[in-house]
Symmetry: C2
């Protein structure tokens, strides 16, 4: 029996978006309908995941404003996040996907761009078998309460901090 | 400058293998040479990742004995693990890959089937730009010491324990 889960991947450690991409890979292997919305990465990003998704005709849709919590134009940032969330909500309620991934969406809630209650409302109204995965630091308490499966990625050791090594293509983006 | 990293994904939480699959997806998107060895999953497993890898001609090689730490024939289990590790070591030293993933390999060290020192020796002798990712619970202390990047997946909430829900295809396998 298919049971749709709300999955949250949070915490300071590496591997939240990466694990969501692993699900995308698995789901694609099973011919599931899967779609990913990104909230932080710039829409012009051509990371490994975007290249792979393009080759496989998987939909990864970015928000289009880069690392927006550093933005000085908060009105614009809020508007972009709200518009992206509207697209997500539509996809959730339409019910055409088996798995929907909201990548780095926790920030939109954490910074108050999108009200958590509105998100929970959409999640409650989604089709029964649909899985929704939400990634990012600072997952709001209400979301953790609501979710079925929550993993916290904990940083044990990080070479970029400790050794001054930059993020590596293929591995991290 | 390409800098090969040793990455460990450990801990009780979900998402270790899944994050490794995310790396595989990204790396494939960049036309990197990537190869995954699995230590626990049975060689006849046809999980989402195996289906996807087959479609994309990515090499995922399983060990062939299922969840072996429950095995009653420990000699056979040890022999299988050692043989699988030999294949990994060869691939690491050959240097033909950009990224090598040793999935659930920590168990082979934890249960004493493969000596940690032998693993560290091979990792030290790998080509400079090669990334090696090792997943699984109970990562040995010496490996954590040696690794460049270590993430612990921490279980916050788990529906299979709390609600009696079974693992979901596409999401988890």
């Amino acid at each position: 029996m298919k049971h749709g889960l709300v999955v949250v991947k949070t915490g300071e450690g590496k591997g939240k978006t990466t694990a969501a991409l692993g699900v995308l890979f698995r789901a694609w292997g099973r011919d599931f309908r899967v779609r990913m919305f990104q909230f932080i990465k710039h829409s012009t990003a051509r990371f490994g995941e975007h290249r792979a998704a393009k080759k496989l005709d998987i939909r990864i849709e970015a928000m289009g404003d880069g690392f927006t919590w550093l933005s000085k134009d908060t009105d614009r940032t809020t508007a972009l996040a709200v518009a992206q969330w509207e697209r997500c909500r539509e996809a959730i309620l339409e019910g055409g996907e088996d798995i929907i991934i909201l990548d780095e969406f926790t920030y939109a809630m954490h910074y108050g761009w999108v009200p958590v209650e509105e998100v929970l409302d959409a999640l409650r109204r989604r089709p029964e078998g649909m899985h929704v995965i939400i990634t990012g630091r600072y997952a709001p308490e209400e979301l953790v309460e609501f979710a079925d499966l929550v993993t916290e990625m904990k940083l044990v050791k990080h070479p970029y901090q400790e050794q001054g090594i930059r993020a590596q293509p293929g591995l991290e983006y």
